[in-house]
């Protein structure tokens, strides 16, 4: 029983991911056009939201329509800790934003994780819209529909503000953090708790009859997923220097959900691939027609029919045919 979880494979994966991040950063700096770099930086930020939704679907079999809420709270939290009203030093405040959002969503998770399927989706939708309306109404705190401008300090964690707010700077920072989150989640899935989360996804009742209290772990997975979204919100706020309620709207969650479906959730990196594919698709299709969203919808239908497990599942199947193995998780 002892040697159940491989660590050498994880180390090799870590190296490959680190190399990929470095190569992507160098390639984009060498050959990336201004538009491409801008597109990539936005894709990286929204990847966190798609990743969060995909992780929840993969780990708990739950589809959230309200993950714009933790994303938006991360962004508004950033705006607040960097404002004059915050009693905390900016760096310390920024470090606390994600845990604070995760804490809130752990409590939310204790309630919503009792539900499944449509009921869960509708409750998260209602919750997300609740945050959207609150952000629109509490003008004193959020700036209401006009939003709120963020004054970044000259330096954050030793980085100049203009680096953080440059497309290339955000692309590299975002990609590096995304890679770390990816590796952390891979490691999590290989732990006892990760296996337990997979068992709960498959058969919650049996897990309780094995001596576990499953509700707290389900809430923890929900909170972890919210934390990933909040991290994206923090980067969004730092990059844009502005937050408004539109990032809390359900349509923002919907777009990220489309990215997640497009990329597939059978592999951990699927939603990230979906986010990048979505951004490039949107860029190319919007140049052709104003009805680009209809074409995105058609593409989504084609991809899900051809590859029910999304782009990542299709790529994995292709690699498998070529004799290369990928670690395929049992996910919806």
């Amino acid at each position: 029983m002892k040697a159940m979880f491989a660590t050498r494979a994880e180390a090799i994966t870590g190296l490959i991911v680190a190399l990929a991040v470095i190569m992507a950063s160098v390639a984009v700096e060498a050959w990336g056009t201004r538009i491409l770099v801008s597109l990539l930086s936005q894709a990286v930020i929204v990847s966190f939201l798609a990743f969060a939704i995909g992780f929840l679907a993969r780990t708990s079999n739950l589809v959230s329509f309200g993950h714009a809420a933790p994303f938006g709270l991360g962004a508004y939290g950033t705006a607040w800790v960097l404002s004059n009203g915050s009693p905390l030093p900016p760096e310390l405040g920024l470090l606390l934003v994600v845990p604070a959002v995760a804490g809130v969503f752990f409590l939310v998770g204790l309630v919503v994780s009792r539900l499944e399927g449509i009921a869960f989706g509708m409750l998260t939708l209602a919750l997300g819209q609740g945050f959207f309306v609150a952000a629109s109404k509490f003008r004193g705190l959020t700036g209401g529909a006009d939003g709120r401008i963020i004054d970044l300090p000259r330096r954050l964690f030793g980085l100049r503000a203009d680096v953080v707010q440059s497309p290339y700077g955000m692309f590299v920072i975002g990609l590096a953090i995304l890679a770390l989150v990816y590796l952390a989640l891979r490691a999590f899935e290989a732990t006892h708790t990760g296996r337990l989360a997979a068992a709960i996804r498959e058969n919650d009742e049996r897990v309780r009859f094995l001596g576990y209290r499953s509700r707290a772990l389900k809430a923890a997975v929900f909170a972890l997923s919210a934390a990933i979204a909040a991290l994206g919100g923090v980067l969004y706020a730092l990059y844009q220097g502005f937050v408004s309620p539109e990032i809390l709207h359900w349509s923002y969650s919907g777009s990220a959900l489309i990215m997640s479906i497009l990329g597939g959730t059978s592999l951990l990196w699927g939603p990230i691939a979906g986010a990048f594919a979505f951004f490039f698709l949107r860029q190319e299709l919007s140049a052709l027609t104003t009805h680009w969203l209809a074409l995105v919808g058609a593409t989504l239908v084609v991809v899900t029919v051809a590859w029910p497990s999304g782009l990542s599942g299709g790529i994995a199947a292709l690699l498998s045919r070529l004799g290369l193995r990928t670690r395929q998780g049992a996910a919806p």
């Binding site: 029983m1 159940m4 997979a198 068992a199 498959e202 009742e205 897990v207 009859f209 094995l210 001596g211």
Partner: protein, 233 residues
């Protein structure tokens, strides 16, 4: 013999229908107690109520301690384990992974001995969805057995198995009850298995207690025959 598990006045209603009425039952260490009756007698409902899966009336005691209001997870940690009518395992996990989870949840246990006893050694690293149905039933049983349970509630463990597989399972259950001194409640439709390994039987009919006694005595009991076949036997 020591009474480990005592169920007092167990009842369950579904709206106006009384699925169980005033059932009393005691399980003793090392004894396999069969619970039989025709379809709809309330056997699975009884296991569901006393294991904490569904709410009913009455009280449940483990070694004299009232556990009626405890959630299933706490009951399991105290040593009350159960299996389900339908195979209830984790198809996407390997056998090793799920036994590990079960052992951890129950606070440790003899997985090695179990694996050897149930003949699961050759499939430990297979995903549960990739092994035969008979092996899946054994995994189901193994999950219930991990962690030295003191009470084992089994809901049709032989369902869907071939005659030969049922006999192997019966041997395992007989062995486990005797070697580990476990109090076993067995709900089973396979009468060959029931009459082979049960030390005592309780018969339910329409949610009510009908009769209890040794299998040899009940085999030809007119009330039992009437409950199963109807009419005036």
């Amino acid at each position: 013999m020591t009474v480990r598990f005592r169920c007092v006045d167990i009842g369950k209603r579904y709206g106006g229908l009384a699925a169980l009425q005033g059932i009393n039952l005691e399980l003793e260490a090392g004894i396999v107690h069969g619970l039989i009756g025709p379809n709809g007698a309330g056997k699975s409902t009884f296991i569901d109520v006393v294991s904490g899966r569904s709410r009913g009336s009455g009280q449940v005691f483990l070694d004299g301690r009232d556990i009626t209001r405890m959630p299933p997870s706490e009951r399991r940690r105290l040593g009350v384990s159960r299996s389900f009518q339908r195979t209830s395992i984790f198809l996407g996990l390997t056998i090793r992974e799920q036994l590990y989870l079960a052992a951890h949840g129950a606070g440790g246990g003899h997985t090695g001995e179990l694996v050897e006893m149930l003949g699961l050694g050759s499939v430990l690293d297979e995903r549960a969805e990739d092994v035969s149905y008979g092996q899946q039933r054994l995994v189901d049983l193994a999950l219930a057995l991990v962690g030295n349970p003191v009470v084992l509630l089994l809901d049709e463990p032989a369902a869907g198995l071939s005659v030969a597989e049922s006999q192997v399972l019966a041997s395992h259950l007989e062995d486990i009850a005797a070697r580990w001194n476990v109090a076993v409640l067995l709900v089973e439709h396979d009468m060959d298995v029931v009459f082979r390994i049960c030390h005592v039987l309780t018969v339910l009919a329409s949610g009510k207690w009908l009769v209890s006694g040794p299998p040899a005595q009940l085999r030809n009991d007119p009330a039992v025959i009437r409950a199963y076949f109807g009419g005036t036997a």
